[in-house]
């Protein structure tokens, strides 16, 4: 059966080719069904494989499917090979499962768009690339998928390319990601340099034999890649702008799957990370800072999708925090639950926008609770899940992270405290949005208000499914009682390392329960505050904002990071290239020398030709002088 792993990515590829090449001859219906069906086929294949995998002993749960040699020179060789183990299985199921739902949803959402076929082919292509990323058996295939998803992200962010800002956002996403990939690539070079191979098994099993600085450097370089793809400080700036894409894209790529690739990568290479405390701390601290920063920005944002985007950044920060304290299974767990509820919220937001003629400003919404009931209810579920309310999915995963942040040998109290604070902020900004959008007076533009309608079934059904998953998804891993998920994944993470290192260094079950209770309280406080400020006393936010005007402006302008980057990096860079390298160095210096030498020759010619004065006696003189010069040579030479 393992010989059929290639089918998983193959189906979406097929969908991409068919829709891409023949799309303009097909009807929307065919395109939509074809696109979704391909992902579903992948999903089914993955499920079959998953069950086959579970048949095996936990230690031997690994399928490898080598197709052919991609490139080989000298001692270097990279195969096109897929790896299906527990980690890949989880990722594949999330990607294809959530992906399938989003594909279905898109049939409704994109209805009538002139780029319908293009959209589906890109979505399929994305799924293909993402599957390569998570299935790849070596760093190179992973990188292939890694850049592939970046490409699709670029294509889909700029899907409505006629709007220059959207196209710009696409470019920004790609280029910022490239900066990350730069690190990743160098990491790969270094891996090959020290390990002589790019195969996961070869590299990870030998990780212990390398000096620590090598491992640390490699890990940090890979992490640079992760910060790009997973929108962490300092490369997170592209993600909020990426909301320019159609909402299903935001849900699939910029919430559920692609942006989690960084987390996946760190988990995949966990055997290296655990060898470097420095790298782990960096991951954890960056994750935590990003989570905090994004959460604070999200509080002031007025754009429904941007709030979700910053929320995504923040949640990704959580995942990195988890990974950074060595709780890889927990990171993946949160990755999965986050995929459920964030996809849900994006799709629901899409449904809201769908109802409001693509309005995204939450100040122009309000009171939608009854008009689009299904959307509201599913959004509500998502809100609870992300806030970490028991028993929704988010509770289990987030709580696990906070606990691990404290209890893990790499953890600390500060991690936990800040993490809990962020949990409260998350609950607050998320419910701020929910209350603003669905409760209170309607602030919808009159014209728009006329057309408010619930989305069609093809959109709401996926919402409901995702809502269900967001509700119960957390139950697969209840610490101490039912840690199925962890047990499933742990063999992957523990394969090459000493499990002893991961014994909780401190803390007890009792403390864990206390922490859970605290985080629940914090979450409820956040929700309550939001309710007070945005439902009961609506003047309060403005008052607070004006009382801390400086802070508010700073947050509202996203800490001016975009402006900063533009001012100190982008602008000077373009300017120097244009004014110095091109206009001065290339044109003036190099071409100046080239053309100048021609000019000099020409003027020399202008002088020398004067020797042909036209007077014959001068010519005779030259002859005589020449003769005299020769005699001079005779006498003195």
């Amino acid at each position: 059966m393992q010989d059929y792993i290639w089918l998983i990515p193959f189906f979406p590829l097929l969908g991409f080719l068919i829709n891409g090449l023949l799309g303009k001859y097909l009807s929307e219906k065919v395109i939509g069904i074809l696109g979704s069906a391909m992902v579903f086929l992948s999903f089914s294949t993955a499920v079959v494989l998953f069950f086959q995998l579970t048949q095996l002993d936990p230690e031997n749960r690994l399928f490898i499917n080598t197709l052919y040699t991609w490139m080989a020179t000298g001692s270097f060789s990279a195969d096109v090979a897929f790896r299906f183990d527990a980690l890949s299985a989880v990722m594949v199921l999330v990607v294809t499962g959530v992906g399938f739902l989003i594909h279905v949803y898109s049939i409704g959402y994109m209805h009538g768009d002139r780029g319908f076929a293009r959209f589906f082919s890109f979505l399929n292509l994305f799924t293909f690339a993402m599957l390569l990323l998570v299935l790849g058996n070596n760093f190179l295939i992973m990188f292939l998928g890694w850049e592939g998803v970046g490409l699709c992200s670029y294509l889909l962010i700029g899907f409505w390319y006629e709007n220059p800002e959207y196209a710009y956002a696409g470019n920004k996403a790609f280029i910022v990601n490239r900066i990350g990939d730069f690190g990743f690539l160098i990491g790969i070079f270094m891996i090959f340099g020290y390990f002589g191979s790019l195969n996961f098994d070869t590299v990870l099993s030998a990780a212990g034999m390398q000096p620590e600085w090598v491992i640390t450097t490699i890990c940090l370089l890979l992490f640079v890649g992760a910060t790009g793809k997973s929108a962490q400080i300092p490369l997170y700036v592209w993600l909020p702008d990426a909301m320019a894409g159609p909402t299903p894209v935001s849900a699939l790529i910029h919430a559920a799957t692609m942006v989690t690739a960084g987390v996946y990568m760190i988990c995949r290479t966990s055997a290296m990370y655990v060898l470097s405390e420095v790298a782990l701390s960096v991951v954890a601290i960056i994750g935590l800072l990003t989570a905090l920063m994004a959460a604070t920005i999200a509080i002031t944002s007025k754009d429904i999708k941007k709030v979700l985007a910053y929320s995504t950044v923040s949640q990704l920060g959580y995942m990195f925090l988890a990974a950074g304290v060595g709780a890889f299974a927990t990171a993946i767990f949160h990755l999965m639950t986050h995929a459920f509820f964030k996809a849900l919220m994006f799709l629901a937001a899409g449904s809201v926008m769908h109802a409001l003629s693509n309005e995204t400003n939450i100040d122009k919404m309000g009171g939608l609770k009854n008009k689009i009931g299904t959307t509201y209810r599913t959004f509500w579920v998502g809100g609870l899940a992300i806030s970490g309310i028991l028993p929704f999915a988010g509770f289990f995963s987030k709580d696990e992270i906070l606990w691990k942040a404290f209890s893990s040998p790499f953890g600390s109290t500060v991690f936990w405290a800040v993490g809990t604070l962020i949990a409260g902020l998350t609950a607050f900004y998320m419910w701020r949005m929910i209350y603003t959008v669905f409760y209170g007076e309607s602030r919808v533009d009159k014209e728009v208000a006329l057309h408010i309608h619930e989305s069609p079934k093809v959109m709401t059904v996926p919402l409901i499914v995702l809502a269900a998953l967001s509700t119960v998804g957390g139950l697969v891993n209840i610490p101490h009682y039912f840690p199925m998920f962890e047990h499933f994944l742990d063999p992957v993470f523990m394969k090459y390392i000493n499990p002893a290192a991961f014994e909780a260094s401190h803390g007890s079950f009792g403390l864990e329960l206390t922490f859970a209770a605290i985080s629940l309280v914090v979450a409820f406080t956040g929700i309550w505050l939001a309710k007070v400020m945005y439902v009961q006393r609506r003047e309060l936010p403005d008052k607070i904002a004006s009382s801390v005007k400086g802070l508010y402006t700073l947050l509202f302008n996203k800490y001016y990071v975009d402006e900063l980057y533009d001012k100190i990096i982008v602008k000077p860079f373009v300017k120097v290239s244009d004014a110095f390298f091109y206009a001065f160095f290339d044109v003036k210096i190099i071409d100046g020398i080239v053309n100048g030498s021609a000019k000099i020759m020409d003027s020399i010619a202008g002088v020398l030709r004067r020797s042909h004065s036209g007077v014959v006696q001068f010519y005779a003189l030259s002859l005589v002088v020449g003769a005299i010069a020769l005699f001079g040579y005779l006498i003195f030479g």
Binding site: H612, V615, V616
Partner: protein
Amino acid sequence: MPIEYYLIVAAILFSIGVLGVLTRRNAIIVFLCIELMLNAVNLTLVAFSNHVQNLDGQVFVFFVMIVAAAEVAVGLALIVAIFRQKETVYVDEINLMKW
């Protein structure tokens, strides 16, 4: 008389010829100066012929004279043609082509 005397006279004649070519404006005089140079050479040849005791040099002189005569014919014809065209025989005024 030692051969050097002849040679020095010839050299002086030759130099006078050269200087004349370089300095005189009238084409005919320039031309005559060239003849002077040739005759200086003739003198040298004859002197050497005597010195080395063979007749090659003297034979050579005859040929030089013949050639000079031919050149005179061509040269004078040219000067006449130029005078007809430009009404001048000053060499520095014959400089249509330069540079």
